[in-house]
Amino acid sequence: MDAVYRALVDIVGSDYVSVQPEDLFTYSKDLGTSEPGKPDYVAAPKTTGAVSRILKLANEHKTPVIPLGGGMSLAGLALPLKGGIILDLKRMDRILELNEKGRYVVVEAGASHGKLTSYLHKHAPRLMHSEPGAPPAATIGGNLAIHGQGDLAHPYGFNSDMIAGMEVVLPTGEICRIGSCAMGEKWYTLHPLPDLSLFLGWNGSTGIITKVSLKLYPCKKIREMDIFCVEDENLVPEILYELTHAGMAGDLVAMSSKLPPYSDRLHMISIALSEDSRQEMEFKRQILFDTHLAKYIREGTGGISMAGRDVERPMVSKASDWKKGGGFEYVGAILPVTDYPECYRRGAAISAAHDIPYTVLGRVIGAGHAMMFSWSYAFNRADEQSIAQARKALHETDDLVMELGGTIWKPAVYGQKLLLEKMDANTLQMMKKVKTMLDPNAIMNPGHWEVD
């Protein structure tokens, strides 16, 4: 056995290091359409100290390190493009501190969103965090490393806007804290110190997030979802403008999909509502439906398609079975809300051209400051042609996003390239400086966000 393997065993114990072909195979695959990328080692550390030692080791050997959370990005963001050590961080999953009245929770970055939701439900039922639509195995750290959004996106923005502190391990192995936690053990704020959050959205290419303080928000007793439906996509932005003006909703998502047939060419705007009493809930509905949306109902251009549905955990994985094939991938993009009509029309056209039933979804971020769009393409994992077709549709959609002036969200390598090509030269250079300064040996998730 080689020196890296022996050293890894020494750091994390033999049970949690592998060079077995089966493990290398498993970790070489992503859930989406990306080509496999094989690691040389898999290691699953339990502590920040172990992560630090592994990064020092990797620098000595100039071996790439690819941090992995839940592995749910679908875009191949944690696939080794140049071999190296996959760090499966899911053993770092403790919930370290809950400050209920201070409304934050400190967790290890490998904790899953499902675990945190369940923990809060039991220990602080009046609090919630913003859980992404991904399967519950998605990790807190992984989601921050790709600038995820969740079910509190409309009121509070990106999930990465909702942190109150971080512990990171720099590529060279130093353990750093960012925010108030850098001065002691209080993890209540990220600001107002000079901004050092250079780890969000970098896919782990500037360091590894190991602990996070997440802001928590009021969780009301009654949580329901109403759906407002329109036929004309051009109405969606103005309806969202009305809804965000009212400021009553939790999550706001507009969606259209070819299947099931009832949603075809229709736009379902789901409005999450939460309150502590029926009276408050009805008050909100009066403001939303009887005031802001009354015009559309009266004209007959919009209607309440569903009222008072219980909010259930989204089962996004079901999309993988649309082609009975175990796979789907989507292009995500951040665009202004006003681009919804174009995003819908053009996205549906790309799907039609590739014989894939279209699904276009837009989630409002902030008070309508932006929208996270996704265009999903299901494929059959057992059929190479189907995978290739989905991949082509994904690339065309990446191109479309760029054409519309959008910003691809958690881009795969193809999308990263498009963004970097279009990026202002000085900004590019700044990215390069940050990367070179933090990661002098370029060992962190190489192939991602690489500026030539």
Binding site: Y262, S263, Q286, G300, G302, G303, I304, S305
Partner: protein, 346 residues
Amino acid sequence: MHTLHFDENKCLACEARDCLTRCRYMNMDAQGAAAELKKLIAGEDSPVLHDCITCYACEEYCPMGNHPFYLIVSRQEALGISPLPSPLVRQGIQMGIPFRGEPEIEKVDGLALNMGVFSGLSHLISGKLFENVTPISTDSRKMFHYFCQLMYLHYGKVSVINERLEGVMEAISAHDADAVVHFHDECYGTYTSYAPAFGMAVPFKSIHLFEFLHDRLTELAGEIHPLGFRVAYQRPCSSRLSPDKHVFVDKIFDMVGVEHVERQYKNEEALCCGSTIMPQKRPDSRRFCLDIQRENIEDMKRAGAELCIFNCPACMQTLWKQITEYGIMPIWMSDLCRMAIGEKPA
């Protein structure tokens, strides 16, 4: 092309005009009703076409055995007057499109029990009461082949029903059952009221679920333990299409030993669950819906009901939560019967 068989002469000769004067959602005297009926018959616009909340009750109120509600809906469609916003109409129409292949038709020996578009509730039809019937349409992927389509009466769209119904009847009749028990009132009403009214031949015999349950309970009489609850019944709109079967509600209640509480909104005076009113275009429709729902449930509560009995899944879906919050337990009619013979509710 199927058209409504509506006897205008009977209607013009009618002095009661109960269809409109008894409507609890429109305020109309006999004179006004006569004028509006004339307009409806002549195919002219009338406030009735805009104010109708589509509760089906006039079909029951009509003393002449005519079809005032079918006439209203036909006229709404002809004049382009939709009770619902257009996206919801499209959504509704698209909902009934089967998209997951053809159903496998197996021949049924004896009685079939048609789940229609409620395959997801197949768990309700288990136990002794149902052991001598063969369920059909239990696969939710294929259930739209069995969808009776009558829902489109709420959408001002008889054309959609007429276009699709024969195909649906073909699917049911292909099972070759001796007769078909319909899980939902709406299916029963389709095949015994709507289809004949539009001159469509129905190639199978239909049995109302309540009549079936009543007969089964009679056979299992020795196993019944009176339940002793005080119950209210949420009568669905489609029950207005088979008023002759409504008697089985009280017959069943008597057999299982529950008291059907006296209340204002009982039997012919029943209130709509509101599911169809909520999204209508009329100003303040949503609040009006909430008002009648509250009135309905408070009426149950005042009457001392402990349980509210449902047969229609739409009523159940719409009201269960509110009813529960009032401390009344919602329960399916089939489950009530099962409890009476010592089985656990589904």
